[in-house]
């Protein structure tokens, strides 16, 4: 472990070379001497340490800005009109402003994960001690913290060691955010470099949070056969008292589970969760139920099934207290980040607080002690359940029909819906007695409730949809493999070679939120397609839940039909949002364990390795949040392309390569020093797909890397061309750009491709040992 900020003073020091008086020594950090791996060039990198790498990436993948609006309204000199090249009062132009907003978003995202990690580490140190050991996979995981090793140059051994990493993250985030103040950074590319820095810090925070909780809470440790848990609205037994937990930061939910177990109440009381807290609660105890992704909040609260709601942090609906009051459900908030205006009862006796909640003297309370949360939540649920008799605000069928008759056909619901769902037309059908069309909207509905708010006659339209789909909801009973955490070192050894050589065609990560353009089923369909094609499919967060809410022809979910191992054809649920660290970590570990590259403070070289050799692609099909933006930006700096759904274009800038510009696709051959054209691989660093079909073609294409062997490239091309022909109905028009040698051509498509190559005047090229870093060239060209 490193020790930071060593500072000492010596009044008088006598040595062989002389006497020193009033000697004062200050050292930024002292690094562990027992770790033999050489310290790389950028431990704890500052904002500028990796700037050259960022600018190399941004030279190839130039930002394309798509401003949401023409103005800046962040200071009192504004609003400033930045349209068509105008500059604002501070001198900023529209490109600067867009990149600045992206940086603000990524700082929000990274801060959220850093704050989550800090809270967890402090909580766990308080509970288990600073010396409590990091253990994410026993002997199967020697590289326990690849991101921390890579960025910080340290090997964390205990919970206390993680504080150093968080100190670094917090300091850097302050610097980054300060750059967004009026009159600071003036270059859009330097804003973008800072975006990458925020993303890297985000990944570090994710890793700290997850390895801390895996170690201390005893979650599955790199277990490919982690248990299956119940998933879906219909799995919750509404006849029992129900505690609903929502959010991302699990200690309070664990307080509930611990209380139930300690008092042998599991079975009498249901505990169910929404969003990542549910993931982590099921990792702690797979008896806990997972209701679904974040889009399920409003529908589940309104269903009246929950008898108490425990909120922690991140992606929780901020109108939960308002909604809960409609069903008479008490709320317990548990995080400093959402105090909800409620009185702090942390110091009060549990029974006193329970009494007030049960009898409705207060709508909710703030409790910052997870154990007390557990006691209060369970006791409240048990007492309140018979009293409130599962009061729900979901209307009856007759009420839906009567409500539909009041519709003024104003289109406001349609105009408010992020996906433009035809709510008004469905309501017209409901008025005629047919609720089918309302029910059809259910699967595409992201549960935001904007239609309710837009309706001028105050129809609870979201509740109408939920009522119409009531049967579907009750039938939602699935299995999900709980988050396994890290990838084992031995798994990396097994797949490292076929991934780097291209014989496993890629690693595809379906991650992120549930703001899906056409329902979560699309994620399941994409995941299954790539698992069948023997890609390694990884997943986390809301996407991992959405993926589980789909059964194949044999009535099995993907988690039952496919293995959970990190191997070709596996579907690997790593866990909650913070467990995304293990996906990036796997790419890093391939460079380290398989290719023997040093990790320690060696970011640039490893990112160069990943970009050029590891065919990994992130897909955030329902990306919504600032956290999703910062996770993606961590991938970009590491050389992993990310695809978002069409709504992801609202992140307002893409990082796009130009395959038609040959000069942008040259790399150094590390063996010879030659500059070699490798084709547009990967073509983009951040792009959006309009349809799931386009996304699938894009995934296959973005898995190609300069280092692919001919055999590997032929396999990757086979998938790309096959998907393209299936979904586009024609051959791709750019195959010639991906064929370096005749041996790259898939044998079954030889005639067709040779004809295309001839038409394009294709010439054979070499396959280099690719790098973008001149310092990695082993033999230089002769002058």
């Amino acid at each position: 472990m490193s020790k930071k900020d060593v500072h000492f003073k010596v009044k008088e020091l006598k040595t062989d070379i002389g006497v020193f008086k009033d000697l004062e020594v200050s050292i930024g950090r002292v690094f562990e001497e027992t770790w033999l791996e050489q310290l790389g060039p950028t431990p704890y990198p500052s904002i500028t340490d990796l700037r050259e790498w960022d600018l190399r990436l941004l030279e190839r993948y130039k930002p394309f800005y798509m401003p949401y609006c023409d103005v800046c309204c962040l200071c009192t000199m504004g609003k400033c009109d930045l349209s068509r090249g105008k500059r604002g009062a501070c001198g900023l132009d529209i490109e600067d402003q867009q990149s600045r907003v992206v940086l603000i978003a990524c700082c929000i995202g990274a801060s959220t994960h850093a704050s989550h990690a800090r809270h967890l580490v402090e909580h766990l140190i308080g509970k288990y001690g600073r010396e409590s050991l990091i253990d994410v996979g026993g002997l199967n995981v020697e590289v326990e913290a690849p991101i921390t090793r890579l960025i910080c140059g340290i090997r964390p051994k205990s919970l206390g060691d993680l504080e150093d990493a968080l100190d670094y993250v917090e300091t850097q985030l302050v610097h980054l955010l300060s750059a967004t103040h009026t009159g600071q950074e003036s270059s859009e590319l330097d804003f973008e470099s800072k975006v990458f820095h925020a993303g890297m810090l985000d990944h570090l925070s994710l890793e700290v949070a997850d390895i801390a909780q895996v170690s201390a809470f005893g979650f599955p440790k790199a277990d490919a056969e982690a248990p299956l848990a119940e998933l879906g609205f219909g799995t919750v037994d509404a006849s029992k008292p129900v505690v609903l937990v929502i959010g991302h930061n699990v200690p309070s939910a664990i307080g509930v589970v611990d209380y139930l177990n300690a008092h042998k109440l599991y079975g009498e009381v249901e505990v169910a969760g929404i969003c990542c807290t549910a993931h982590d609660m099921a990792r702690y105890d797979p008896k806990a139920k997972i209701v679904g992704p974040m889009s399920y909040q409003l529908r589940f609260i309104r269903s009246g099934v929950s008898d108490v709601i425990v909120l922690d942090e991140q992606c929780i609906r901020t109108d939960t207290l308002v909604e809960a009051q409609k069903t008479g459900t008490p709320v317990i908030v548990t995080s400093e980040k959402n105090l909800a205006g409620l009185k702090n009862r942390t110091g009060d006796a549990a029974d006193e607080v329970v009494e007030e909640l049960v009898y409705g003297k207060v709508p909710g309370v703030l409790i910052l002690d997870p154990d007390l949360v557990g006691e209060v939540a369970v006791k409240t649920a048990m007492k309140v359940a018979p009293r409130r008799a599962k009061l729900k605000v979901i209307p009856s069928v007759e009420e839906v029909k009567a409500g539909a008759a009041k519709c003024t056909k104003c289109y406001e619901c349609l105009r408010a819906c992020p996906n433009g769902l035809p709510v008004m037309e469905a309501l017209a059908e409901a008025e005629r007695g047919n609720l089918e069309r309302l029910a059809d909207l259910y699967e595409s509905c992201i549960g935001c409730g904007r239609c309710d708010n837009a309706c001028p006659v105050n129809l609870p339209l979201h509740s109408f949809i939920v009522k119409a789909a009531e049967k579907k909801l009750r039938e939602e009973k699935y299995k999900i493999r709980v988050g396994r955490g890290a990838i084992q070192d031995v798994e990396i050894r097994d797949v490292g070679s076929p991934i780097v050589l291209g014989e496993i065609p890629g690693v595809v990560a379906f991650v992120g939120c549930s703001n899906f353009p056409a329902g979560g089923r699309e994620v399941a369909e994409m995941a299954e397609e790539f698992a069948k094609r023997r890609y390694i499919v990884t997943t986390s967060g809301c996407s991992a839940m959405a993926m589980g809410m789909y059964k194949n022809g044999e009535g099995k979910t993907l988690y039952e039909a496919y293995p959970g191992a990190f191997k070709a054809g596996g579907i690997v649920n790593v866990g909650s949002c913070v467990a995304n660290a293990h996906i990036a970590g796997a790419a890093i570990k391939i460079a380290n364990i398989f290719a023997k590259r040093n990790l320690r403070g060696n970011y640039e070289e490893i990112a160069d390795y990943v970009l050029n050799r590891v065919g990994a692609v992130g897909v955030a099909w329902g990306a919504m949040s600032q956290k999703a933006a910062s996770i993606a930006s961590g991938c970009w700096r590491l050389g992993i392309p990310v695809i978002v759904g069409p709504q992801g274009a609202k992140y307002r800038r893409m990082l796009l390569g130009r395959k038609d510009r040959e000069k942008e696709w040259y790399v150094h051959d590390a063996r010879t020093g030659d500059s070699v054209y490798v084709g547009p691989v990967p073509e983009h660093l951040f792009s959006t797909a309009e349809t799931k079909e386009e996304a699938m073609v894009m995934i296959a294409k973005l898995c190609m890397r300069p280092n692919d062997t001919s055999k590997g490239r032929a396999i990757k091309l086979t998938h790309y061309i096959d998907l393209h022909k299936r979904f586009y109905g024609v051959m791709p028009d750019d195959v010639h750009l991906y064929i370096r040698r005749a041996t790259d051509i898939p044998i079954t498509m030889k005639d067709e491709i040779l004809a295309a190559l001839k038409e394009k005047g294709w010439k054979e090229n070499v396959i280099p040992d690719p790098t973008l870093l001149p310092r990695l060239i082993r033999k230089r060209e002769k002058p």
Partner: protein, 179 residues
């Protein structure tokens, strides 16, 4: 309906808003005057009804009427091929927008950048941000949204229109182009 305000109401664009197409002849004149027009067609065009046919069928007729080159986004090209139309280039929506903002791009045919871009059949919000990118960074390119709903980041757009009226406008444009 029939208002020149963003269809998704919160999508407030700022000071620069699209001019409203009040007469179809405006579109016809702009297409005829353009030296290098381009039609961008999104996948929603295969789902949207337009009278007895789909929007994509109309787009094919429009492209054929005055030989406007077409870029199909998403996997729209599959629907074009099914209909026997084989002259469309295809690429993601953000890729074609990214090329259109590059003054040095040689176009699909190698003959240079385009001066008029017609956009239709994309999801409302995707067209919104794409047109914004063009508004700000492709100052030589004029854009026309042919969709039913007002797109404020275009140079020209229909107001929010009832289906019948929109259909009628589109048919008038086609007729006046000889289609």
């Amino acid at each position: 309906m029939r208002r020149a305000e963003p269809w998704q109401k919160a999508e407030i664009p700022g000071p620069e808003k699209a001019l409203v197409i009040t007469r179809p002849e405006v579109v016809t004149a702009m297409i005829k005057r353009a030296k290098r027009p381009l039609l961008i067609l999104g996948y929603e065009s295969a789902k949207l009804d337009l009278g007895e046919e789909k929007l994509i069928d109309y787009a094919i007729k429009l492209a054929e009427s005055v030989n406007i080159p077409m870029v199909a986004t998403g996997h729209t090209v599959s629907e074009l091929t099914k209909r026997g139309f084989q002259h469309a280039a295809f690429m993601p929506a953000v890729d074609i927008a990214n090329r259109l903002r590059d003054p040095d791009w040689k176009g699909l045919d190698g003959l240079g950048q385009y001066d008029l871009v017609l956009v239709t059949g994309l999801r409302y919000y995707l067209a919104w941000v794409m047109l914004s990118g063009l508004k700000h960074f492709a100052d030589k390119v004029k854009t026309i949204s042919l969709d039913r709903f007002y797109q404020p980041h275009a140079s020209w757009s229909f107001p929010n229109l009832p289906v019948d009226e929109w259909h009628s406008y589109l048919i008038d444009i086609l007729k006046s182009l000889g289609g």
